[in-house]
């Protein structure tokens, strides 16, 4: 596989730099020596069949894997040149810089407003005016403001699934992270909501570096600039999305995108 060239970016345009990253759970390898660079202010998609390690890779970036018992991580990940796997790194600071949205919409059982304000309040912002301003900005950025501006005090659980997912995105960007990780953000949603999320991803890419994990190849093709294909814990191919879907270099990639397995 080493004969398949992967993309590299100019250091100024590199957001995350992964070197020889291996992750195992209780001795069982989930990722094997993955190396890749993620560009800044672009949408990068990770695709691959279930269990290929794409979510593990994503969760390595904000060290959510730390929460799992028996996990072992080797290798290096640099965020704008800083090593984020070093033991002295404060993960709470790291997670503010790298926001994450999960597969299932998971708003807190609080009001819409409090959901978006949660991260801001954690950072010590308590001025109501400032909070209102920031919450409105985040909700507008997540294309949700017009739908919820009259019901900010309503429970977030009264929103539809698609609205909840956009609320969660608003919550993540409210604290203005540098990178946004989206773990199959639309897989639990209906087609219309999926479309809205995809449009939103396109808009957000102007301000954020976005990594989206998806098992929906059409989605990857629609929203991403670059696509990485992972298979059995290894990075098989990483190239511009158009290239990967039209001229796959590796045999496994071709098999996958043509639907021969996965």
């Amino acid at each position: 596989m080493t004969d398949i060239p992967t993309l590299t970016f100019d250091p100024a345009d590199t957001c995350l730099n992964v070197e020889q990253l291996s992750v195992s759970y209780d001795g069982k390898a989930a990722l094997r020596e993955v190396s890749l660079t993620v560009p800044r202010h672009r949408v990068t998609a990770f695709i691959g069949p279930s269990g290929c390690g794409k979510s593990t890779l994503l969760r390595s970036f904000n060290r959510m894997n730390d929460l799992i018992r028996g996990v072992e991580v080797t290798g290096h990940i640099q965020l704008f040149g800083e090593d984020i796997l070093a033991p002295e790194v404060d993960v709470t600071v790291l997670r503010r810089r790298i926001g994450m949205v999960f597969q299932q919409p998971n708003p807190f059982p609080m009001s819409v407003f409090d959901n978006v304000a949660y991260g801001l309040r954690l950072q010590g912002l308590s001025d109501q005016r400032a909070l209102e301003r920031e919450v409105e900005w985040a909700l507008r950025s997540a294309a949700l403001w017009d739908e919820v501006k009259d019901r900010l005090e309503a429970s977030a659980l009264t929103l539809s699934g698609g609205q909840q997912q956009r609320l969660v995105i608003a919550r993540a960007i409210a604290i203005r992270p540098e990178v946004l990780l989206l773990d199959e953000p639309a897989s639990a949603l209906d087609p219309i909501s999926t479309l809205k999320i995809e449009e939103l991803i396109g808009q957000l890419a102007e301000a954020y570096s976005i990594i989206v994990v998806t098992h929906n190849m059409q989605q990857a093709a629609r929203v991403s600039d670059y696509t990485a294909f992972l298979y059995l814990g290894e990075l098989v191919e990483f190239s511009a999305t158009d290239d990967l879907f039209t001229r796959p270099q590796a045999r496994q990639t071709e098999d996958y995108i043509t639907g021969r397995y996965g």
Binding site: N62, M64, L67, R69, T92, V93, L94, R95, R96, G99, M100, F102, Q104, N106, P107, F108, P109, M110, Y118, G119, L122, Q123, S155, A156, L157, T158, V168, R171, A172, I175
Partner: protein, 473 residues
């Protein structure tokens, strides 16, 4: 397709489960009805009759109320029907309850001049306001005069009353009764329904709000009620934070391995330890060790008279908190495990620390489960008697543990408790028949008190659950 028949159809299971619920309901209702009927029937003014007996028995006539009817097997063979008469007058004509053979009863006449008086000592006095043999017109006038004087006197405080009331026996004997001794008086045969109702409720009110008299067989149970509520509250204040923190550790912080699992099993097993063992532990550890050390450190000048090294409210509350701790931990952990992992991850992914996640997300979500734990702990704790006898409950406490003198809440005082009160009335009372209705009434009040405390927690829980309910489920 064949419809499943027999046990597989599920009909049997349905009947079995409905049957179990019905049985439980039936037993509960029976218990409550029994407690209510005997306990609160006691406060209804019973009609008083003048009973005369077969001259052969040599029994003088007596003013009494019918309490109970039963059939006894005689030693010489055969059965005899007897009536239990409540005659009162424990001071002048004991005993105050007597079984008489129905065969020896000659007549029962309901005299409008019959009166029952609750007294400060010696229990109720029963008698007539006018001599039984006098002409009817004179009797009515005398009875009315005496009643008017009594009613006037009862409006004054006892120390301001002077004079006596003349109480006549069914045999014509007369005796003076100091007005200052009387607590309450009524003429049951001359009362209409409204009078009876108002007397009934005023007696129940007095039962709930007054301290006991005469070895707890008269008067009210207020100190016991108060002591129980106060102790349960103190217990809740102690057990809730400790239980929640312990559950948080077990579920959120402790590495989930065999050691934690063993810890969990140990906690569950604590719930099965007999409560008297907790009492002995409380006495040895809290009272003697902790209390004794406190005394030596801070109250050395009053030794050997102990301050905290003696059973008291604080130690009783702590002992019960220990006893209910397993319930609290299990209920809270149950609630913690129901919180979806996604919520924790969402909070952590926003840069919250583990503590912030617990504080802002986990705890508010676990609150209903915590309240479930409180409900279970209160139900368990309020009904406990055995351990309390060792660590602070007494038959009669001269002072309430909460009063207007500094420091207001006297944690070192001994206190009265409804559960122990019931035990004391039922098994330690010098006057079993007099105490019996009070046992039932106290038991019903204890049940009602627990229901009330729980109702508060249930309503709070319903409110908390309803606040952020997902409309779809």
């Amino acid at each position: 397709m064949k419809t499943p028949s027999g046990w597989r159809s599920g009909d049997g299971a349905l009947w079995l489960s409905t049957g179990a619920v019905t049985l439980t309901l039936l037993l509960t209702v029976t218990l409550l009805v029994l407690l209510g009927r005997v306990g609160f029937g006691h406060f209804w003014p019973e009609p008083l009759a003048t009973f005369t007996f077969d001259p052969a028995t040599g029994q003088p006539p007596v003013v009494a109320a019918r309490r109970e009817h039963s059939t006894f097997a005689l030693a010489e063979g055969g059965m005899e029907a007897r009536t239990l008469l409540r005659t009162g007058n424990r001071d002048t004509a004991p005993p105050d309850f007597r079984w008489v053979a129905d065969a020896s009863l000659r007549s029962a006449r309901f005299d409008p001049a019959a009166i029952e008086l609750e007294r400060r000592s010696w229990g109720p006095a029963l008698g007539l306001l006018a001599p039984p043999e006098a002409p009817a017109a004179d009797r009515a006038a005398l009875a009315a005069r005496q009643w008017a004087r009594l009613e006037g006197a009862l409006t004054l405080p006892p120390q301001a009353r002077s004079g006596t009331l003349t109480l006549y026996g069914a045999d014509g004997s007369a005796r003076p009764l100091p007005l200052a001794e009387v607590v309450r008086a009524w003429r049951p045969n001359a009362m209409n329904l409204q009078d009876k109702l108002s007397l009934y409720f005023s007696r129940i009110g007095a039962f709930i709000s007054e301290p006991p008299r005469e070895a707890n067989t008269e008067g009210g149970i207020f100190p016991a009620l108060f002591g129980t509520v106060l102790m349960v509250m103190l217990m809740t204040v102690v057990v809730t934070p400790v239980g929640v923190v312990a559950a948080l550790y077990l579920h959120e912080y402790a590495p989930q391995g065999p050691l934690t699992q063993m810890l969990r099993i140990a906690v569950n097993n604590l719930a099965g330890v007999p409560s008297i063992v907790y009492g002995v532990f409380g006495l040895g550890f809290f009272v003697y060790l902790v209390g004794g050390s406190l005394d030596r450190a801070f109250f050395a000048d009053t030794l050997p008279a102990p301050t905290f090294g003696t059973p008291g409210l604080l130690w009783a509350s702590l002992t019960l908190a220990l006893l209910t701790l397993p319930v609290m931990i299990v209920a809270t952990e149950e609630g913690l495990s129901r919180i979806p992992r996604q919520l924790r991850e969402a909070s952590l992914a926003l840069g919250a620390t583990r503590f912030e996640t617990i504080r802002h997300i986990i705890l508010p979500q676990a609150l209903p489960a915590v309240l479930t734990g409180v409900i279970l702990a209160v139900a368990r704790g309020a009904g406990e008697v055995a351990p309390l006898m060792l660590v602070g409950v007494v038959k009669l406490a001269p002072e309430l543990p909460l009063d207007g003198t500094f420091p207001f809440l006297h944690l070192d005082r001994q206190f009265m408790h409804l559960g122990f009160h019931i035990y004391d009335l039922a098994f330690q009372s010098p006057n079993v028949e007099a105490a019996r209705p009070l046992v039932y009434a106290s038991a019903l009040l204890l049940v009602l008190m627990i229901v009330l405390l729980n109702l508060g927690a249930v309503l709070l829980r319903a409110y908390l659950r309803g606040r952020h309910r997902d409309p779809l489920g």
